[in-house]
């Protein structure tokens, strides 16, 4: 359902799109500068204008395409899983970030420069387009407005964006949270899962905690003490375990009651559901400890 123009839902989606655009923005300005640096002054101006225009047009087209693709059954869920991965990637520090540019080769002509800029923007903007497609809730107007606000800021005000996130790194954390929220809302809107969520409403909460615990894991890992770090893996794994039982019960159409059993089969089922993860958790902790010990041992020979 598309939000009404200038309603709270509309403004919220617009804010989400602009925030996602800012935190997932590529270094378009740098690429345009690198590609155009060897061209004559007059051609440089043309490359900057048409490169920016081409980048905005390519991104707009891709975003509109994503809106229609997300309407197909299954794609919303796939997009949500991709967004969780994008949020993790955004929050995880990248030690090899400096000097890792997508296009550093100066172009020889106007056409080559334009092509390089548009292709580089399209490649760098896939994650961005997917995220704004999910946040736009099917509204092409929202996508166009979001791009019209954020792309000029990114292209002409990239230094301002860098200064802003340098002064307030929490914006990146908020961006990760908004990506997680977008992923959750995409999962809930997935047409294939709609009837299942209607029958199992409590699993919405489990899905939300699962999405946030995976997408914000780099933040939790950085803040937790060493001995508590396995929780970052164990909590989502436990939720997946419980969800798997719920899904299995739906697929095989078994009636599952919570914490009650009459015959041996039901007792075994409940034991497996509530306690079956314990040996797996213990095995994970043991394996982690062994790997840490092996890493600490000096290399011989």
């Amino acid at each position: 359902m598309q939000p009404e123009f200038l309603s709270a839902a509309f403004l919220s989606a617009l804010f989400a799109i602009v925030l996602i655009d800012l935190v997932l923005a590529g270094d378009n300005a740098l690429i345009i500068g690198l590609v155009a640096r060897n061209l004559p002054k007059q051609t440089q101006r043309k490359v900057i204008f048409w490169g920016t225009f081409g980048a905005i047009a390519a991104r707009g087209l891709m975003a509109i395409l994503v809106v229609y693709v997300l309407d197909l059954p299954g794609f919303m869920l796939a997009g949500a899983i991709a967004l969780v991965w994008i949020a993790r990637k955004l929050l995880a520090p990248d030690p090899a970030a400096a000097g890792n540019h997508a296009a550093a080769v100066p172009a020889a002509s106007f056409a080559v420069a334009l092509r390089t800029i548009v292709v580089a923007d399209a490649v760098m903007g896939v994650d961005n387009v997917l995220a704004i497609g999910g946040a736009a809730t099917g509204s092409v107007l929202l996508i166009m407005l979001g791009l019209a606000i954020s792309v000029p800021i990114i292209v002409w005000g990239s230094h301002m964006v860098i200064r802003l996130v340098d002064r307030f790194p929490s914006i990146i954390l908020l961006g990760g949270a908004v990506l997680g929220w977008t992923a959750y809302s995409m999962i809930v809107r997935e047409p294939l899962l709609a009837s299942w969520f209607a029958d199992h409403p409590a699993t919405k909460l489990v899905a939300a905690i699962l999405v946030f615990s995976i997408s914000l894991a780099p933040w939790c890992t950085a803040r937790l003490a060493e001995r508590h770090k396995p929780l970052v893996v164990l909590l989502p794994a436990l939720l997946v375990w419980l969800l798997a039982f719920e899904v299995a019960a739906s697929v095989w159409q078994i009636e599952v009651r919570y914490l009650s059993a009459d015959d041996t089969g039901e007792y075994l089922f409940q034991a497996a559901r509530w306690l079956g993860w314990l040996p797996l958790g213990a095995a994970f902790l043991w394996l982690r400890e062994q790997l840490a010990l092996r890493r600490r041992q000096p290399v011989r020979g």
Binding site: A8, S158, V165, I171, V178, T203, A207, T221
Partner: protein, 113 residues
């Protein structure tokens, strides 16, 4: 490459974010989870659960917690309020703890009892 990777502080945001900023984002995430809780469970069930004890209607209080249908801007406002409330609680708790801690035996402010 992401634009934010050009800034060392932003690249390492999980470690360089200010405590206030982290508290705000954590509060927003809590509100988001509460909204999903509100989507999952009908809040009126709490009101009907008969959780009245003395002067308190816990059912009513829990149904306030079960937020639902909030948009991102509303979530940011709710998260800001929650973060401000938690910060005030933390400061007042620290002040109360400091006031309750007995002064050293020979301190100038020690009242001889």
């Amino acid at each position: 490459m992401l634009l934010i990777r050009h800034s060392d502080r932003a690249n390492n945001a999980v470690r360089t974010a200010s405590p206030g900023g982290e508290l705000f984002v954590a509060a927003v995430v809590i509100c988001m989870i509460l909204v999903s809780f509100g989507d999952a469970v009908d809040p009126t069930l709490f009101g009907e659960a008969g959780l009245e004890f003395g002067l308190f209607d816990l059912g009513g209080e829990f149904s306030v917690l079960a937020l639902s249908d909030l948009h991102l801007l509303q979530l940011l406002l709710a998260g800001g309020l929650l973060a401000a409330g938690l910060a005030v609680l933390r400061v007042s708790g620290a002040l109360a703890q400091k006031a309750l801690r007995s002064a050293p035996r020979r301190a100038i402010e020690k009242v001889p009892l």
